[in-house]
Symmetry: C2
Subunit: 417 residues, 2 copies
């Protein structure tokens, strides 16, 4: 057996020339001074977003004023953008709506789901679920403590065994935020249904990274984030999904005026809108929502199957190059090496991960860090080049070989890392 010769930067440039998604990078507004590998925390802007937002401010807000709620379609924006997102999620247009933040949507759907399962009081989740998901579950349990609601946290491998007929909701994040490891959404949803529980999925780290098909998984409920993989802008509004079969039985937990059947009647009594719309609450931030819509429109032009193949390859290349070129420096790959169970991020564990990442960022390679010791590198296939993988690993080699991370200024942790 002849071992393949080591990869070179020229090899990766050649991969870029053959990349069927290469032209998609031009649809994003890329900062050319950096290698950006943190789209899992904040996606880059789509081209045209600045222009669209300027039109919202100058034409719709300044010019149209209050009339723009109708004339510019502001009032329909949560449902309209939701219906577009649905096409990315394997859902129908009337099953998804854009609203609030991921955390608020988790609260609404988890609480509503518990209401549909009287006699069952357990929320089953993974002990390493995304922190805000855990906090919200605990918050719901605290609010409903007099009804005996509790949260059962177990390691991911014990989830199937922990499903029993006390479980009201199986509550999981599809892709793990630290490792990128994917749950089998279909199998776990089926296991939940088998014991009479509902499944609520957080897609914040998977939609946009891997093909998501809520109908194929027979999912009940889902939420997700607009500003990470979806490129909707910092703090973009989030979204939620309610399977049609559950829509009429699911209560509006935060019954604000936007979720009323006839918001402009200004009736003194709440009457829920039909279907998923009742989970709207207050007035949506129209300017941020307009930015998200530009991003969703772009996503609908991108071939998700090609995204999946390319991101698997980018991650595989990164792991191979780290193995090959950084073996001496004590990195542990904490993401799955099997690309089929991994989203589009690769995480490396290192005791000095914080300082190493700061040194990398100073050199224009932007990933991020999650306490206590994990460096995350995201490979967003729509706008990341193969050569970016080479340059990132190259910078990592330089930082390690020259001990650049030892500079004292890299030891102080900033608020956001």
């Amino acid at each position: 057996v002849t071992k393949a010769p080591p990869l070179t930067r020229e090899d990766l440039l050649a991969f870029d020339r053959d990349d069927p998604l290469a032209h998609v990078r031009d649809e994003f507004d890329i900062n050319p001074d950096v290698v950006y590998l943190d789209g899992n925390s904040l996606g880059v802007p789509p081209r045209g977003v600045a222009q669209r937002v300027a039109a919202v401010i100058e034409e719709e807000w300044r010019g149209g004023l209050i009339r723009s709620w109708n004339a510019a379609g502001w009032i329909d924006a949560p449902a309209r953008v939701g219906a577009k997102l649905a096409r990315m999620l394997g859902a129908d247009g009337d099953e998804v709506v854009v609203a609030d933040s991921t955390s608020v949507n988790l609260f609404k759907l988890l609480t509503a789901a518990l209401r549909t399962r009287p006699g069952r009081h357990v929320v089953l989740t993974e002990d390493a679920n995304f922190p805000t998901d855990l906090y919200i579950a605990d918050g719901v349990a605290s609010l409903l403590r007099s009804e005996g609601v509790s949260v059962r946290r177990v390691p991911r491998e014990r989830l199937p065994d922990a499903l029993d007929d006390s479980v009201a909701v199986l509550y999981l994040t599809h892709a793990h935020y630290t490792t990128g490891r994917l749950h089998d959404m279909r199998a776990l949803t089926e296991a939940a249904h088998r014991v009479g529980a509902l499944a609520l999925w957080d897609l914040s780290h998977s939609a946009g990274a891997v093909p998501v098909d809520l109908h194929a998984a027979d999912a009940d409920l889902a939420v997700g984030c607009g500003y990470k993989y979806l490129n909707g802008g910092p703090g973009a509004p989030a979204y939620l999904f309610v399977a049609r079969r559950l829509q009429e039985s699911l209560e509006a937990v935060l019954p604000g005026w936007m979720g009323h059947a006839a918001p402009f009647e200004f009736s003194a009594t709440y009457r829920p809108a039909s279907g998923v719309l009742r989970h709207l609450c207050g007035t949506p931030p129209i300017i941020s929502l307009a930015a998200l819509e530009v991003a969703v429109d772009l996503w609908l032009r991108i071939d998700m199957t090609a995204v999946r193949s390319k991101s698997m390859r980018l991650c595989d290349l990164f792991i191979a190059l780290v193995d090959e070129r950084c073996a001496a420096h004590g990195f542990e790959v904490v993401s799955p090496r099997d690309a089929t169970v991994r989203g589009w991020q690769v995480s490396l564990r290192h005791d000095e991960g914080y300082a190493i990442m700061q040194a990398l960022i100073d050199r224009g390679v932007i990933g991020d860090f999650r306490a206590p010791d994990v460096m995350r590198f995201g490979f967003a296939a729509p706008y990341t080049r193969h050569v970016d993988v080479w340059d990132a690993v190259d910078a990592l080699c330089v930082v390690m070989e020259r001990g650049l991370w030892r500079e004292p200024r890299y030891a102080t942790r900033a608020a956001v890392t």
Copy 2:
């Protein structure tokens, strides 16, 4: 006694020449084609907002990317803008934070307030409170039904008598959205305290319209809207206030990651941030929040006492001109004629109010309509001229005298009116 001669358009132009706030109009980006009297529903844009938002998108999002959470101060924005708003509200900087929507904030603070009053289960409110406030109160009661929480709705004049020791929270909107009538915040808060209840005020229709002094009123809790009187842009984030004395006893009801004491520890256990910050939940919509900050910065340069005098006068002039010129057309002034108990809107009741308002809007005079029969005219002193009052009443005369509202196209109600 000699009766004063009728006012003329020239008189109102003269008032504009003498107006100490005339120059403030230049700080807003005004559509010159309309007389805009709906700032109570959507304020006009401050000048500079388009430029600021463009910088957020192009420099901070595209250029800074994830680094902008620190470098551009995104992470501190909810507290920073809250502290600025506090100066408009008679509060301290660490008592106000920008978050979510008004409806979500009402839910958080009302629920948290109930938690601090065990043994008391009544939310006392005005039967004609703003609809979303009523819906949220009912939603909280429904969620906490097993604890016996209920909502007591009474006419405003019966509020003092309805305060008894079963009341946990007095829950009111400071200025009524239809009539503009103001509650006596100080007297009602004192009455609530006398029976051991907390007072939660919705400032959505008063902050920016009249001087608000939460400390002078000894208010406990408050929320408010960013996009109406404050000019923060369509669906701008809302804010909430928690008096310092209550901050450590008030639980975070929606415990999302932004309200964690150390959000970037990504700890699996929620630990509330100190003070008002624990009421943050998910990631804020940074682009919309940047627009709001431009507006708040502008408001801090505006003399609120002068705003109050001018808006009282604009409203008085409108009422006088309607009385004088439209007496034959059956309008009833439903706002208080006493300016001291009125915000800056005047509402007229008319059976054909919907069609009349549509005809007015078609002629460039933009107010709004609230079912079943109320036409609202808002007089935002920072950017409304005295002559606008004349022109609005003039257009109203034309619409009525020529019967223009009878055109069939004005009979069909649009989604937003």
